[in-house]
């Protein structure tokens, strides 16, 4: 009961002056409060405006690339120019292999037809000067060279088209697009220009006549990459490749990560080994992504002999890279489940495994999902490791399995930003970035949605 205060208490007057002293400093203190608060707000506004600037500059550059100069021609499939036998049909008694050979050689012949002359003739309908025999290359130069593929595919599909006049929309070549959009200085002397004088004149004329129009650049989404005609270069292959890698990351990193998190959080005894694993995981989360590239090249390609440039390898490398993120997020989600739930289950006689799978895990799933989606989104945007496993390749096809060669969105962006045709590809690159950001934001928004949707505990 005795208190420990043995000394006599010094007098402690409740002075009025003290109150005044405090009051006298209040103004200054409140001012510094306001200062500090506005600094904080300022920091956030800086952050947000940086987001704005970044998006603004990309949108500013990228949006125009979603519209592309396109020629709307009335194209006559002149049989004289195409000059090809009728499509072979399988004769009775002809073996399948023979027929196949015959068909192949027909197709080959078809591809060798003078498609440029066909296009020249179509352009000449509007600009007669382009019809001159020596103007064939000049006229064809207005059109993206790969657009001729479109024409022979039409014939291949329906040989009856030969002789008819059909309206076709052909993407203009990149230089025409650049010229018409004013992305090149029109006043530069001719020797600095990409288009010849005739081409400049013709494209202006065609544009005036409405033959060339600015159409939505659907080729961006429906075509694969192209080098020979940049104007038709698209992202389809890259998108499919990226989606495949994302799926692989989801299938590999998410379950493994979740299981590792479960073990570390719920089962692991606290000892040196688990400490080691823990430090390891935290460290892996910070290991430079490029180092994962070195790992992928050495392990998956050289050691396991998996194919180069394949989404499978990319996906595995990205999975390893994402794994720590998933583990860390999942552990946090598990930790957030109140221990009372676990105890309740154990108290009834559930084994730790049952308590885990019946109670803790279901409650942690939303948090894990959020972590997983964010991890996957990160993986989707990663470039550096892919450069080292051969994914910075020119791939002009859509992969149909994860073992096929493929590109990926960020890598495609990297390749395009290095394309020598700056005038065209600067905005094309930004457009590709917009697509990537679109996917990214959708994923993140989905994660946020999940968080809000499932955080409501009942």
């Amino acid at each position: 009961m005795a208190t420990t205060t043995t000394d006599a208490l010094p007098a402690m007057p409740q002075s009025k002056s003290n109150r005044e002293l405090v009051a006298s400093k209040l103004g200054k203190r409140h001012r510094s409060e306001t200062m500090f608060k506005s600094m904080g707000l300022g920091a956030i506004l800086i952050g947000i405006s940086l987001v704005g600037i970044l998006f603004g500059s990309i949108l500013y550059k990228g949006i125009p690339a979603f519209w592309q100069a396109t020629l709307h021609l009335n194209l006559t499939f002149d049989p004289e120019i195409i000059d090809i036998d009728p499509r072979p049909t399988q004769q009775p008694g002809q073996s399948a292999a023979d027929f196949h050979d015959e068909l192949l050689s027909w197709q080959r012949a078809l591809r060798r037809a003078k498609w440029d002359s066909l296009i020249q003739a179509a352009i000449a309908k509007d600009v007669p000067a382009a019809g001159a025999p020596d103007m064939r290359r000049t006229a064809f130069g207005l059109v993206a060279s790969n657009e001729r593929v479109k024409l022979w595919e039409m014939v291949e599909k329906d040989p009856g088209i030969i002789g008819q006049t059909v309206p076709v929309a052909l993407v203009a070549s990149e230089n025409v697009d650049v010229w018409l959009k004013g992305n090149i200085d029109r006043d530069l002397p001719q020797r600095f220009q990409q288009l010849s004088e005739e081409q400049q004149k013709w494209s202006d004329e065609l544009y005036k006549d409405g033959v060339i129009r600015m159409d939505f650049a659907s080729s961006l989404f429906t075509n694969v990459d192209s080098r020979s005609s940049g104007a038709t270069a698209g992202l389809l292959g890259a998108i499919v490749g990226s989606v495949m890698m994302m799926l692989i990351v989801m299938v590999v990193a998410v379950p493994v990560g979740v299981m590792a998190a479960i073990y570390l959080e719920e089962f692991a005894p606290k000892n040196r080994v688990t400490d080691l694993i823990e430090v390891n995981i935290n460290n892996l989360a910070a290991v430079p992504s490029i180092v994962f590239g070195l790992l992928g090249a050495a392990v998956f390609i050289n050691f396991f002999g998996l194919p180069l440039s394949a989404p499978l390898v990319g996906g595995l490398v990205l999975s390893l890279m994402t794994l720590p993120t998933v583990i860390i997020a999942s552990r946090a989600a598990l930790r957030a489940v109140p221990p009372s739930i676990r105890q309740a289950a154990l108290g009834i006689g559930a084994s730790p495994t049952q308590a885990m799978f019946h109670h803790t895990l279901p409650l942690a799933v939303p948090g894990m999902l959020t972590g997983a989606i964010i991890g996957v989104a990160q993986a989707l945007g990663e470039t550096a490791p892919l450069l080292l496993i051969g994914m910075n390749a020119f791939v002009a096809s859509v992969p149909s399995t994860p073992l096929d060669q493929s590109s990926a969105l960020p890598v495609q962006i990297y390749l395009w930003q290095g394309n020598e045709n700056r005038n065209f590809f600067e905005s094309r690159t930004s457009a590709a970035i917009l697509v990537l950001l679109g996917v990214m934001i959708t994923l993140n928004a989905f994660a946020i949605f999940m968080r809000h949707r499932f955080e409501r505990r009942w």
Partner: protein, 454 residues
Amino acid sequence: MISLAIILIVLSFVYTWGASASRRIAAKTGQRLHSRPPYYGLYLVLWCAIPAVIVFIAYTLLFPQFQAAIIDSYLPQAVLNDPAELSSQTRQIENILNGVSVIGTPEPYQLEAVRTLRSFEWIGRLALLALAAVAAFAGTLVARRRISPHFRARNRIETAIEMVLIVCSGIAILTTVGIVLSVLGEAVRFFTYVSPVDFFFGTTWNPRFSTTGSSGQGEFGLLPLLWGTMMITIIAMCVAVPVGLLAAVYLSEYAGPKFRFFAKPLLEILAGIPTIVYGIFAAFTVGPFLSEFGSMVGLSINATSAFTAGIVMGIMIIPFVSSLSDDIISQVPQAMRDGSYGLGATQSETIRKVILPAALPGIVGAFLLAVSRAIGETMIVVLAAGNSPVLTANPFDAVSTVTVTIVNQLTGDTDFASPQSLVAFALGLTLFVITLCLNVVAIYIVRKYREQYE
């Protein structure tokens, strides 16, 4: 596809057998089962699948040796005695086997070997199938015998599940081991060309093209690269730390729930943007802007410089710093705040004098993690730092970093067996060790701090 279906059917059959057998035994003996029937079913499934898998793994491990033995048996003694010839002939035979042509006409004995191997290929496969089936069957039988009311099937299953979980967490370690192994060998090879002293303490990075001039390898001094990395990191942290920390403070202490609801995801967008996008933003927007701005105020700022890369990297790291700091600030117990408010402190006084000091160790740990992210960042630097590996104190000059050099040396035109490209692995290893150290320190600090309130 079909084989998968067969396996599934077999396993489900085994499962049903186990479950029903346990029920039957329980009914017969009248005792309560230790575990519920499904666990017995799963137990049988495990015993069916694991032996088969073991057989399969053993086969895949042993078959190449078996194949080698067959090849050896066909090769003449002269070849067997010459290791170089032996390995080349072995490879030739394998090439023929795989349908890849060889130079020159193959020896008849080689063709003979190939023919034998071909036949063994499917015999081997049959044998594998049979062995696996036997193993699975035996395993199932053994397991079936064990079923009794006292048998603790659930515990076995749970042990198995735990094993799987352990393996999954082991993958993290495997990854680390893989990283070290995959760079170590080449790094060691690099050090046979260049002495570690020259590498770690050299102040000039000038690897030269691998063959120009017969004299010398060029110089592989790491310091300019490290210095570039450091400079960019410092600049990045100068951007990210104040902005990130203040933003975290505002979000966790001042902002109302609505503001938080919108501002936080908006900031987090910065973290979700791919680095390639930052790189392009830095190279084509920020860089030219800065250099223009510099010439306006009379500073010569390179468009691609440590400054440009650093600033953009700082922007990228802002949300990283802010969300980590946010976590740590909100870990400071409410009691600290109450104590301070109760004494009449204003909010900013509480934050500056109580909360931040209390959270400081944790925040420092968070910064170290952010630093290691900055050090490892590649694409921004590839595009915006200017790749000039010189020791310079001027942040407006171009610099180069370790990560960029890895990419450049590995994707350059140099001889791939030369130190010029092997150096990438040495650099990778160095980078790994640096981030490892940083992380260990950071984790140590963060943990220590966590214990503080407990």
